[in-house]
């Protein structure tokens, strides 16, 4: 798989989308300055050039990376962790954030932290919940009670 090519293509699609949004910005010629479109346009143009150059760059071989790091003897060859697992964790956490948005900080955080712990193999639910609850509690006391900083309230109640 040509990794750089895929990344470059995704970037170019993104740049085109952003450029389209940029063209929709209102035109202003006040004050003789270039207006709100100018800066994003310059950045996008530079990004486009670099993305195209990335498209034609050969992927870095694994051996090259190690070579570049040769001064560094301590680094152990890191095993690649599966990306699917990581994305699953992200998805669960995102669900947790949405839950916090709806039901508020206390319950939302306990549930989402417990879910994360379950995902990584803490199958003993009471322990996971107790740990999540204590973390939440400490934060609750620190913020709401001691510092008087409001925490997300939840929009459902």
């Amino acid at each position: 798989m040509k990794q750089n090519r895929i990344i470059a293509t995704i970037l170019l699609v993104f740049i085109i989308f952003w450029a389209y949004l940029t063209t929709k910005l209102p035109e202003t010629t006040m004050l003789g300055e270039p207006g709100p479109k100018f800066f994003p346009a310059v950045v996008l143009a530079l990004m486009a050039i670099l993305s195209i150059s990335l498209y034609f760059t050969k992927d870095l071989e694994k051996t090259e990376v190690i070579e570049a790091d040769e001064i560094d003897q301590v680094t152990e060859p890191e095993e690649e962790l599966p990306m699917n697992g990581a994305l699953k964790l992200f998805a669960v956490f995102f669900a947790g954030i949405i839950l916090i948005y709806f039901v508020g900080f206390n319950i939302g955080l306990i549930v989402s932290l417990s879910a994360m712990l379950w995902m990584i193999g803490w199958r003993l639910f009471p322990r996971a919940i107790l740990f999540s609850a204590s973390v939440t509690l400490v934060i609750y006391f620190l913020f709401s009670w001691a510092l008087k900083i409001p925490l997300p309230k939840g929009t459902l109640f």
Binding site: M30, L31, N106, I107, L130, F131, A133, S134, T136, L137, V138, Y140, F141, K148, P150
Partner: protein, 335 residues
């Protein structure tokens, strides 16, 4: 191992208690309709949204005012800074909460400006709020560097008339209150400036650094520089002279009809019940009228000019029209 288990249990029990406590503080039930003046409000702490940066004049004065009002109400008023969008973020936050009086905003001229600039939804102009009390007014000033050739407004106007579009005047950003003031001055003086949009602090550095000819800024930002002999204030834009600069005449005294004041007050979403608004109004007016607050406001060159909520509503409507006209004139009115 055992101790840690006990700890966890204790913590969980504590958590349960806090959550129950949290539930008990649900909004008060509505009082029967036949006795609208009696209200148990407030039963929990009130969230005061502050629209501009922490530590700034708006923030510090808002907090001080809230401290006094909280004493009267018997529940804390917690000031929370919600900046962004020239105030739009904070205004929209408050409008998004229940209109029960527990979410109030430290309102200012910014509600009119940010709305007409197009940063508030079409149905959320000043009238989406209801005034609790108007609290204060602040005047702005036009100032030049101390070594500038213009000794007074007259000389400055003469020079500006001779050089239309050449005199650079720093304001506090496009569509800012001071931009509007500068435009109003232009109008009254019959001159044309070149407006440089900076923020209020950048204006000071730009003038001291000699990059602009004059600045239109809150008088408060000019005072220390004038006192130190670094700047010369040409005129106060307001109804009366300022204690800190008693020698500087107002625009009106010099024959120009410019009278624009930055005002601040407390507002709530418009559906907030009468009895709650009245209770808040009493508390905030008392706080504003206290000597302690007046003394405090003086340090920020703020004129304490409290009015009731009803008067504030009328005042906002009048001001909104004036600001809309001004913004129309300089081509900034979007809605």
């Amino acid at each position: 191992m055992k101790t840690s288990k006990i700890m966890v249990i204790v913590l969980t029990v504590l958590l349960a208690i806090t959550m129950l406590a949290g539930c008990s503080s649900t909004p008060a039930e509505k009082p029967p309709a036949d006795q609208p003046v009696e209200t148990t409000f407030p039963e929990k702490s009130i969230d005061l949204t502050i629209l501009f940066g922490a530590g700034g004049a708006a923030d510090v004065i808002g907090r001080k005012l809230a401290d006094g009002a909280a004493e009267k109400l018997g529940k804390p008023i917690v000031a929370n800074v919600r900046t962004g969008g020239g105030g739009a973020v904070g205004y929209q936050y408050v409008l998004g909460q229940d209109p029960d009086g527990y979410n109030i905003v430290w309102n200012s001229t910014s509600i009119c400006v940010t709305y007409h600039q197009g940063n508030m939804p079409a149905d959320q102009d000043f009238s989406a709020f209801r005034g609790v009390a108007k609290i204060s007014e602040e005047a702005s000033a036009i100032a030049v560097k101390a070594d500038a050739p213009w000794k007074n407004l007259e000389e400055f106007v003469a020079y500006a008339k001779a050089n239309p579009g050449k005199v650079t005047v720093a304001n506090s950003g496009v569509g800012s209150f001071n931009h509007l003031t500068a435009a109003a001055i232009e109008d009254a003086l019959g001159v044309q400036f070149k407006h440089i949009p900076l923020d209020s602090k950048e204006s000071v550095t730009a003038l001291l650094g000699g990059r602009v000819d004059a600045m239109v800024n809150m008088a408060f930002d000019a005072i220390p520089q004038v006192e130190a002999g670094e700047m010369r204030a040409l005129a106060i834009v307001g109804t009366q002279r300022i204690d800190a600069m008693p020698d500087v005449p107002t625009m009106k005294e010099q024959g120009y009809d410019v009278d624009l004041l930055m005002w601040r007050g407390i507002a709530v979403p418009k559906d907030t019940p009468d009895e709650v608004v009245l209770k808040l109004q009493d508390a905030f007016l008392e706080s504003a009228n206290s000597d302690e607050f007046k003394e405090f406001a003086k340090k920020y060159s703020l004129t304490v000019a409290p009015t009731t909520g009803a008067e504030f509503d009328a005042y906002m409507a009048e001001q909104d029209k004036m600001i809309a006209d001004l913004m129309e004139k300089i081509g900034l009115k979007k809605q």
